[in-house]
Symmetry: C2
Subunit: 221 residues, 2 copies
């Protein structure tokens, strides 16, 4: 269906224009926005919850939740921070229009960090800029060490990569060197943190990295 190609291009171009507007608004209010992406069950919500718990007395955090069925929203709201639900209408990814439309539901100038939880999907979200400053990709050990080779776009567009569920490494044939080699080819020098939400392993290094980005947010992205 070659006649569909221009339509896709137009949609992406319109998307990028809206993303640019969102970015300008975030920068004006001094908010660092991060786009958190992973497979279903990769650990987006667990990472976000644990990150908020560790940082919310130092950093003013808000959350936009774009998951298809927002079970996770309540868990986040229980932490007492502002949350906004994006109704994706069953869509497989967030787009710039959804995020831009949700901006007024949060008081941006009262935030340092806006965490956007994308839909659980290792493919489609990679194609849609949201206007965020950083793409956070979470892979997890049980998904296998071949994921960078099979889903290259997601890893290519990442600004930081968390490898979650490291506590399951001893029960899996997961070759961290093979995984990292695949990432390095796509995205040389990518910041990489092996973590476990269950044991807390590696979390301090990730938090330090993120805290630094929040501090320097006027110059990120």
């Amino acid at each position: 269906m070659p006649n569909t190609i221009p339509v896709v291009e137009n949609i992406l171009s319109a998307n990028d224009q809206i993303a640019t507007q969102t970015r300008a608004q975030l920068d004006r209010d001094g908010v660092l926005a991060i786009n958190v992406m992973a497979s279903p069950g990769g650990g987006k919500t667990s990472v976000i919850l644990k990150t908020i718990e560790a940082l919310h007395d130092q950093v003013r955090i808000g959350v936009m939740d774009g998951d298809i069925v927002p079970l996770d929203l309540e868990k986040i709201a229980e932490l007492g921070i502002p949350v906004s639900l994006i109704n994706t209408g069953g869509n497989c990814h967030l787009d710039a229009n959804m995020v831009h439309g949700a901006l007024p539901s949060l008081q941006l100038d009262a935030l340092d960090l806006l965490i956007i939880e994308n839909v659980g999907n290792l493919i489609c979200p990679a194609a849609f800029k949201l206007g965020t400053h950083l793409n956070i990709v979470i892979a997890s050990v049980p998904e296998g060490d071949d994921k960078p080779y099979k889903y290259p776009a997601m890893f290519k567009g990442a600004d930081v990569l968390l490898l979650n569920k490291m506590d399951l490494c001893e029960y899996q044939d997961f070759n961290v060197d093979y995984f990292r080699h695949g990432v390095e080819v796509l995205n040389p020098g990518l910041a990489f943190f092996p973590i476990s939400c269950r044991t807390g392993e590696g979390f301090d290094a990730w938090l330090d990295w993120l805290r630094d980005r929040v501090t320097q947010r006027s110059s990120v992205g």
Copy 2:
């Protein structure tokens, strides 16, 4: 963007028409076709490889591989059965046109079972009929027990559900009853097999189920 809705409807309608043609061709040649769907790393390839190993001396099997980067194709071809690569061009799901276009690459009247490996994605593939007889959905324990609640369309459209990586249950907080309840609400009475590709747990029951469907293939779907 309300003006995009008719476009999507037209695409799906065209898709369904092609799927109907594919189904007719499969039925004419007496082939049972299954559409295997899962998250990235859920275990599609492992389940397919193990299923082929167990059945290929009783059942004439062919494979279409729709994964984005076809690393898995070689593993399947090593088993000496006919395989066909579908180039999805980075797309996030197979559609009927891709499958229909790949049919001539396999000698259908020499097959009993056609296994189609869809793209690793728990959302988009659910919306596109391929002309197959059965939707095989694979979930896996490390993804968490909330997946039916968060990705309902995939579970609603399943004809059989495999819950893979049961060997990891003891290291996870996975409540099988909660998972099954979510599935039952969406798809009452759905055939359900807890399995482990690693230990072989539960595989015989799944193989019996599939072997029965192949035997009765003229009346399935």
